[in-house]
Structures are given as C-alpha cells and as structure tokens.
C-alpha cells in the first residue's frame, strides 16, 4: 500500500473550479464597475483592501501564533512610499510648504504599479530591520515591541516633515485604485499566501505555533520561519497601504493609528485565527458592516424623541462583537478550517467517487 495523495481528476477539477470562480469574480467586478453606484464600488474596494490586509496579518498571528500588534506601521510605510512616488515633483513641491521634501523623493516619480511594489518593498525592509529585536522575545513581550513600533512610525510620520509632510499629510493623490487593482492584489495575495501556508514552509510555521520546542527538535529554525512570515506579511501590508492611499486620495498620520491594527485583529479573530478563509470572510463582513452600520451613528427619530447621532458608535458595536466572539465562540467563524472544493463537493454529495 502506498500513499496516493490526491488523484489527478480531483486536482484538475479543483483547478477548473478555481478558474471558474475567478471568471465569476471578474464578471461581478465588471458589472459593478460599469453599473454599480459609487457607494457600492467604495465598499467593494474597501473589502478587497481589507482582505489583503487581513490575510497577510493572519499569516503572522494565525499561522505562526504570534501576537503582532504593529501592522499599521507597515501599512503606513507602504502608503507613504507609494503616494510619494505617484505624486509629480510639481505637486510635491506645492504640498510640502512647511519643509521641502528631501531628495530623492522630491524628484522621483513612478507608475502606480511600481509605486505599489516599492511600498511593499519598503515595508519589508523596515520589517527586516526590526525583526532582530522583535524575535528575541515571544508572547506579551512581542506584542509590546510591535505595538511600540507601530506607535514610533506614527510619531515619526508627524515629526519627519521633510518626508511625510507631517500632520498635513499628502493630499490630492490620483484615485488610481479601482476595482481591478484592489481585487487583483487581493486575489494574488490570497493565492500566494495559501500556497505558502500549504507548503512545507507553512507546515514549519504551524509547527512553531503548536510547539516551538518540538519544532526546533525536528530541525525547524524558528527565527527563519517567523522572519519569513513577518516579511511576507509586511510586504502585502505595504502594498495594501499603497492601494489605500490611492483609494482615499488623502493620507495623514491619523489614518494609521493602532485603531487600524485593532480592526484587523477583530477581523481575523472573528473570522477564525489561523484560517485564510476566515480572514477573507471577516474582512468582507467588516467592510460591508462598516458601511451598513453607519445608520447607528446617524440621529434616530423614534417618534416621541430623537437620539442624536453618536460618532464612533460603529466601533463600539465592533468591539462588542469581538467580546462576544471571544467569550462565546473563541474559534471564530471558521476556526482553523479552510474552504476547499473537496469540502464543497462532498457537502453537495457530488464527490468524484
């Protein structure tokens, strides 16, 4: 008896299913692109960006089991890098009124795609630089170090006016991020990270999460694999930061506080820590819910009396949802399970054999 693994028919079927799903997604995007309202398109764009962010964040927190609290730092770095590259030298000169932008950013300009990659690469470089102090510690200490890094980057954004334009931020960015860019990046991120997680490298990461001592004894080098996850995650966070910048078209340090990290944490915990599928579902719900729940912040007329709108009410609701999930459904929507075609087909009773 030998191990057969998946037979050819099944993997071919899965490939076709993936292609069909992608075509369907493309069709939906096309229809919204042509006929959707601005509101719908904004939700869809947000969804895609948050899917990218959540899936890459989940690689570190869910797959490796680290409590990394600084993704907002990498999103910031990606957003600023990308924005500084797409702005023309003229625009930059006009924006940086307090202190002129330093060379070489003052003269560089690049196409949107290149700026996104540059944002990812810059975030990866920063991630590498802080990885040595970060991975000396684990658990709560790692959480505190990464949290601190996020805060440091935010403060630097305010202070380094020659690079970031300080509290004024960068305004009037071209709205390059459309449905094709945002969803293209999201799909690519999900595919690549899923491949990584299902590979020998992903198994090593999960082994570290399950029992770092045993993983070492089986020959896994924890530092290398945590670093790999951290850098890959930072790269995609940086790219998503670039997308965000060119979606909102105005960025400033207040956009990238710990609050953003907190939202991502809610997304991956509600979706199910350690499940890419869960991260996607969580992000989609968050992006949709974030808009749909705007009603709770608007004044409500109850006939007899009116409740004034309370800004920030949505976040209270999200926090309550997080608490409920932590208390009553700790494994979130998906637990550590993943969607797969095999699962779907067996649910439908359509399995090959």
């Amino acid at each position: 008896m030998t191990w057969k693994g998946k037979d050819m028919d099944t993997s071919k079927r899965n490939l076709y299913c993936n292609l069909a799903a992608l075509c369907l997604l493309a069709l939906v995007l096309y229809l919204f692109d042509r006929h959707g309202t601005e509101y719908q398109i904004r939700i869809l764009n947000n969804m895609a960006v948050f899917i990218t962010l959540a899936v890459s964040y989940n690689l570190v927190n869910g797959m490796c089991g680290l409590l990394h609290l600084g993704p907002n730092a990498f999103i910031t770095i990606g957003a600023y890098t990308s924005a500084l590259l797409t702005m023309s030298p003229m625009e930059k000169q006009m924006s940086f009124i307090i202190e002129p932008l330093i060379w070489p950013f003052s003269v560089l300009q690049a196409p949107f795609f290149v700026s996104l990659i540059a944002g990812g690469v810059m975030a990866t470089i920063f991630a590498f630089l802080i990885s040595f102090p970060v991975f000396r510690v684990r658990g709560d200490y790692l959480a505190i170090v990464t949290l601190g890094f996020g805060e440091v980057i935010r403060v630097l954004c305010n202070a380094l006016q020659g690079v970031t334009n300080g509290p004024l931020g960068l305004k009037g960015l071209q709205p390059y991020t459309n449905l094709w860019w945002s969803w293209g990046v999201a799909v690519f991120t999900v595919l690549v990270i899923t491949k990584l997680v299902n590979s020998s490298f992903g198994r090593a990461m999960k082994a570290i999460r399950e029992d770092e001592i045993a993983a070492k004894a089986m020959g896994v080098d924890p530092f290398r694999h945590l670093l790999l996850a951290f850098l890959v995650s930072a790269f995609f966070s940086g790219v998503a930061g670039g997308l965000m910048a060119h979606l909102i078209t105005t960025i400033s340090p207040t956009l990238f506080t710990f609050f953003l990290t907190f939202n991502l944490l809610i997304i991956i915990v509600v979706g199910g820590l350690g499940s890419t599928t869960g991260a996607v579902i969580g992000a989609a719900l968050f992006a949709w819910g974030g808009e749909a729940l705007r009603v709770v912040e608007s004044p409500m007329d109850l006939g007899v009396f009116t409740i004034p709108g309370i800004p920030g009410m949505r976040m209270v609701l999200f926090s309550v949802i997080l608490m409920v999930v932590i208390l009553f459904a700790r494994r979130g929507i998906m637990g550590r399970n993943e969607f797969s075609w095999d699962w779907l087909f067996s649910k439908l009773g359509l399995n090959a054999k």
Partner: protein, 257 residues
C-alpha cells in the same frame, strides 16, 4: 575512545542545584545504550544538553569529530541527532501525517518563493515528502491514522508518533526519553520489538531513558545509572542488576514512577 559520539565531563547547574555532575560516556555506532536512575536524577537534563536545549555549565558534547556543545537545537538535529520527549510534545492541531512531514523540512531544497508561486518542482518535492512520511507511519503502525489530528490519538499511539517524527529527521543517533511511559505491558512489549526493528532497518544508534526495568534490561546492551546527577554504575544488564550501588540507589529511594 571513538569519534562517533562522546560526552566529556558534562556539568549542569541550575542556580545552586547541580542536576548533572561530571557525566561522561562514549557510544559506538550501532549500540543501544540505556540510561536509568530515580526520578530527578538528571537523565532528561543529559538529553537536553546533547540536543542543545541546555548549554552545559562545563564539559563538551562531541559528535562525529565535531564539538557541538551549545549549538542551536535545529542545527544539532540537522547533524543527525533526534529525540523524543518524556512529556509528549506533538503538534496537536496538525494531522498525524503533517506531524511527520514537519521533520522533512530541514532538508527541503525548494526555496520559499517557489512554494509561494506553486512551482512544479516544489510540488514534486511535497509529494515525495508526503510519501516518505507515510512510510514512517506504516513502520510505526500509524498509517491508518494519517489524517487524524495528532491530539486525538490514544496515549500509546502518541508515543509512537513521537518516534516516527524523530525518525523522519533521518538521524544517526536517536535519543528516546521514556518511550514506554504510560504504556500498558502489552504496548511496552510491542514497543521493544519496534525499537529493535527500526534500529536494524535504519542502522541507528540508540540512547534511551526508561523506567520500565524489564524493557531496559531486555533491550539494551549497555546501561548507565545516574543518581543525584552522578553516574554510579555502567555495565551490561546483568552487571547492573547485581550492582550493590544500583540496588541501594533504587531501594533507598521512596517509590518512583
């Protein structure tokens, strides 16, 4: 003196406590050596020093002519020394097969970006690893449980999975820390047979800690006895059984597990 595996005067102090004091042993290729002693004698500490989990206070670990004292754990594993844990440490939320596949990772040839882009060469390597890992499960009679979560296995099966996982790193020296702990007599007997088999099939050298005297005496060719961190005897099972110091160490102790 040989060049294969040698511990030279290992000392391990934890604060004021000397857990292991002046421990030396030399093991020949292919030998099956036992390490016994009352609870808390320092046996596991010796294993921890060999595998890099602890850096000895003094002394050296020599492996195939190289001083590996204090090297990182994963590098020692990569050099061909594998271990199991007394208090089972499986990757409980991963499947039985995946547990064994982890051990292949340190020899993987694909780069991470090939995995991320789903290159065919990485796919072929994955398939090969899957097949070989399955082979180790068959050897340890665990193949029918390949897709179960490791945490759901019965105790004796978990102990065997620990061995399968260690074997899958392709070691030359295998360290077993109380492999029969918690097993019933029937399982213990089968385990002895399994240990003999894997040793022969893989040309292994084995160094094992065990409390079950029948198991140790029946299996090992040479036994070393540790008491309060000090080596008090060394010899064949017959010599150990009749050694007055050993009898005193065991009888003098209150009942041990």
């Amino acid at each position: 003196m040989n060049d294969f595996f040698r511990l030279e005067s290992l000392v391990m102090q934890f604060g004021g406590l000397t857990a292991v004091n002046d421990f030396s042993i030399s093991i020949e290729p292919g030998e099956l050596v036992g390490l016994i002693g009352p609870n808390g004698a320092g046996k596991t500490t010796v294993f921890n020093m060999i595998t890099g989990f602890l850096t000895p206070t003094s002394g050296r670990v020599l492996w195939q002519g190289e001083d590996i004292t204090g090297l990182p754990v994963h590098q020692i594993t990569a050099r061909g020394i594998a271990r199991t844990f007394q208090n089972i440490r499986l990757f409980t939320d991963m499947t039985v097969l995946e547990n064994v596949m982890v051990s292949f990772h340190h020899k993987i040839r694909s780069r991470f970006w090939k995995a991320m882009l789903g290159m065919p060469s990485h796919g072929r390597e994955e398939q090969r690893i899957r097949e070989e890992a399955y082979g180790f499960l068959q050897e340890l009679n665990l193949a029918h449980l390949a897709d179960e979560k490791a945490g759901s296995l019965a105790y004796g099966q978990q102990r065997r999975l620990e061995i399968a996982r260690a074997l899958a790193t392709y070691p030359k020296l295998l360290l077993l820390d109380e492999p029969a702990a918690g097993m019933n007599p029937q399982e213990t007997m089968e385990l002895a047979g399994l240990v003999r088999e894997i040793r022969k099939r893989h040309g292994l050298t084995i160094f094992l800690i065990e409390h079950d005297m029948k198991f140790v005496m029946g299996l090992c060719e040479r036994i070393k006895v540790l008491d309060y961190g000090i080596s008090i005897a060394e010899g064949t099972p017959e010599e150990i059984q009749t050694n007055p110091d050993v009898i005193k160490a065991y009888l003098g102790e209150p009942k041990h597990a």
